[in-house]
């Protein structure tokens, strides 16, 4: 049904469905969205400029604070980029420890997201269960690295802490429990009719659109496209570990949920394999203080998708230029596309579907309108 005129519905910067401040203006015809105008930049923190002011070692702490949820992905990407500048080979044990932390982080980030998706659909019970399990991962990561959120385990040239054999057994024991829980939640999500009704055929992103609009990560994989930096351009030790890239042909919010659930199980397998094949040896090598003029790009598969860091050195102990492209920026264009034609009630679900992390994304404010 069309009413001829449209109503403008503001969404954000403060809204219960958005955990971070970002603004979307929806033009709504009746109950159907016809136009979306995003306005980003509310949490612009001048991160890139700050990178140029500090030394390489200081920047490590800054990189970790770009995102609260995928802090390890950012610091891995940063160390990888800087080690590419030097260039520096890190010990194999450090590689594996970084990888284990990265996969643990993926577990916690995905369980957080599936919980949020359930919450957006009004399914609070699953939200509580998933977040209870997530707490176990947080405790585990705290035990390994000493911190819950900013783990500070990475350093240029390796890692700062080792994983002991006791911790390894603990992780394995936890994985067993977590995996069976996740399998059960997946079963619930696959059979719960109210959840399926809310998510199936909601926010459809066709494979072609997904490529054209530069979608990344689970959003892209839920559109049936097999793309994962871990498999396409193996970094750390992903080339040595067998794992599957999970895809789903659903193209909707439901597919994104299932992809993330299955990725959690895949991550658990990766961690188990890595723990079994953990090489012996040193965990770090000393890096030089200054870096000769060079350029380097680091790519990491963060829980939300492909994360890109770029650095240029000029022979001092500070980078000349640093650039961060967070996965949410890649997904933003696609989410605006999928929101068109959606019901107003589905907006939070679709928006949450890309697992947005706006404060990682906000880099630049465009002040000139004519660009």
């Amino acid at each position: 049904m069309s009413y001829g005129t449209t109503i403008k519905v503001p969404f954000g910067p403060q809204h219960p469905a958005l955990k971070e401040p970002e603004y979307f203006l929806f033009e709504v015809d009746g109950d159907i969205v016809v136009k979306v105008t995003p306005r980003i930049g509310y949490v612009h923190r001048g991160v890139e400029k700050a990178f140029e002011q500090e030394t390489y070692l200081h920047n490590l702490y800054l990189a970790e604070r770009i995102c609260g949820i995928c802090s390890h992905a950012h610091s891995t990407c940063y160390t990888q980029t800087i080690e590419g500048l030097i260039p520096l080979e890190i010990p194999p044990r450090a590689v594996y420890i970084r990888l284990i932390m990265a996969e643990l982080e993926r577990l916690h980030s995905h369980s957080l997201w599936v919980g949020i998706a359930a919450h957006e659909a009004g399914f609070d019970t699953l939200f509580m269960y998933l977040w209870r399990d997530r707490e176990m991962i947080m405790d585990l990561m705290e035990e390994i690295s000493g911190n819950r959120v900013t783990h500070a385990i990475n350093t240029i040239g390796g890692v700062r802490r080792d994983i002991t054999s006791e911790q390894a057994t603990k992780i394995k024991k936890f994985l067993e429990k977590f995996e069976s829980n996740v399998k059960e939640y997946t079963k619930v999500l696959e059979s719960e009719q109210t959840f399926i009704k809310r998510t199936k055929d909601v926010g459809v992103l066709k494979p072609r659109d997904a490529i054209v609009l530069c979608a990344v990560g689970p959003t892209l994989r839920a559109s049936g496209i097999k793309s994962d930096v871990r498999a396409d351009d193996p970094y750390l030790a992903y080339g040595e570990i067998p794992f599957n890239v999970i895809t789903h042909d659903g193209c909707d919010v439901y597919a994104r949920t299932i992809v993330r659930c299955e990725e959690m199980i895949e991550s658990a397998n990766i961690i188990r394999y890595a723990l079994d094949h953990l090489p012996e040896g040193k965990i770090k090598v000393p890096p030089p203080r200054t870096i000769a003029p060079n350029e380097s790009v680091g790519r990491v598969e963060a829980p939300r998708g492909e994360l890109i860091h770029y650095a240029r050195s000029n022979g001092t102990n500070k980078p000349e230029r640093y650039k961060v492209r967070a996965p949410t920026l890649g997904n933003l264009a696609s989410v605006c596309q999928t929101l068109i034609g959606a019901h107003v009630a589905d907006i939070p679900l679709i928006l949450a579907g890309i697992d947005p992390c706006f404060s990682c994304m906000d880099r630049v404010i465009i002040t000139k309108k004519s660009v």
């Binding site: 219960p16 109950d31 659909a121 609070d124 959840f195 009630a345």
Partner: protein, 317 residues
């Protein structure tokens, strides 16, 4: 005699008892819901947090009273009182102690009228506060009423047909006299009345008018302080109303059992109903308004008509 009646209205089985039950039921609902979700629920105020609803109520009463500049002031102020009063009036008709405070032939119809009026007051509450989220919420609640009201009415009528009476007290007594509950006699009716009460109480999966993640707090968004406290009290009273209504219509009402007073029996039964409602709301995700409306009309209403036909042919009562 007059004193006795005043005591009846204000203390037992009147306002004081009902307020007490309202707070108790909110606590049971919150605690049970939390335990289903593997949380602790209210914990600190009173033993096991039993006084938490009272504390919340008092806290809200002491908050600053904020009235939006563009709201419809008279309606905005009156509606919270109306909303808290309506379920209270409905509860006077329900035979909580075996006999209702006000019992007359036709109080089932009166109950339907009250339940429609509650939704109307919700609509007015959202509409008068003039916020965009409130308006969406109030339209949704009106739409929701259009879909559950008819199956709900029919589900109240089913037992009335069997008991040959439109009086709740008589329906409850019929069940005691025949020693059979309508839950067993008319199971479809029982299911329908539970589902439509979930919609009436705006609980998951039908909490569409106040869907937190979509429209903030829906029709309640602009309310705060003592107005919100009154709405919360009204909601608790509605919870009591719904569970006691189901208990007396479908679960045999206040039956005397050995030496236990009938009022205790009814409260226990209604707590069972309450826990059923809490359990259901922990199990589902929220429907979208169009899914809810079409679902109600395509499944619930035909099912209820089948139930009424069965009753007419003498099956189930």
């Amino acid at each position: 005699m007059v004193l006795y009646e005043i005591f009846g209205v204000f203390v037992y089985p009147g306002i004081a008892l009902l307020f007490g039950l309202a707070f108790l039921y909110e606590w049971i609902d919150r605690k049970f819901f939390a335990r289903v979700q593997n949380r602790m629920g209210p914990l600190y105020t009173g033993p096991s947090g039993i006084l938490q609803p009272v504390a919340d109520f008092l806290k809200l009463l002491s908050k600053e009273d904020i009235v939006p500049a563009s709201c419809e002031k008279p309606i905005f102020s009156v509606i919270p009182i109306v909303y808290a009063t309506l379920p209270l009036i409905a509860l006077f008709v329900i035979p909580i102690t075996g006999s209702a405070l006000i019992a007359f032939e036709g109080d089932v119809i009166f109950l339907m009228f009250i339940s429609a009026f509650i939704t109307l007051s919700v609509f007015l509450a959202g509409w008068s506060s003039a916020g965009s989220f409130s308006r969406i919420g109030s339209i949704r609640s009106a739409l929701q009423m259009l879909s559950y009201e008819i199956p709900f009415g029919l589900a109240l009528i089913g037992p009335a047909i069997s008991a040959h009476s439109l009086s709740l007290t008589k329906i409850a007594q019929w069940q005691v006299a025949n020693s059979s509950w309508f839950m067993w006699l008319q199971p479809i009716g029982f299911a329908v009345v539970l589902i439509s009460l979930l919609a009436e109480l705006e609980l998951v999966p039908f909490d569409i008018p106040e869907a937190e993640t979509e429209i903030v707090a829906g029709w309640l968004t602009e309310y705060g302080g003592r107005r919100l406290a009154l709405f919360r009290l009204g909601k608790d009273l509605e919870l009591v109303m719904a569970s006691t209504l189901v208990a007396s219509l479908y679960l045999g009402g206040a039956q005397p059992l050995f030496f236990i007073p009938p009022v205790v029996i009814l409260i226990v039964k209604s707590i069972v109903v309450l826990m059923l409602i809490s359990f259901v709301r922990a199990l589902f995700a929220r429907f979208r308004i169009d899914q809810m409306t079409s679902g109600m009309w395509t499944y619930l209403l035909p099912l209820m008509i089948v139930q009424i036909l069965l009753v007419q042919f003498g099956i189930g009562g």
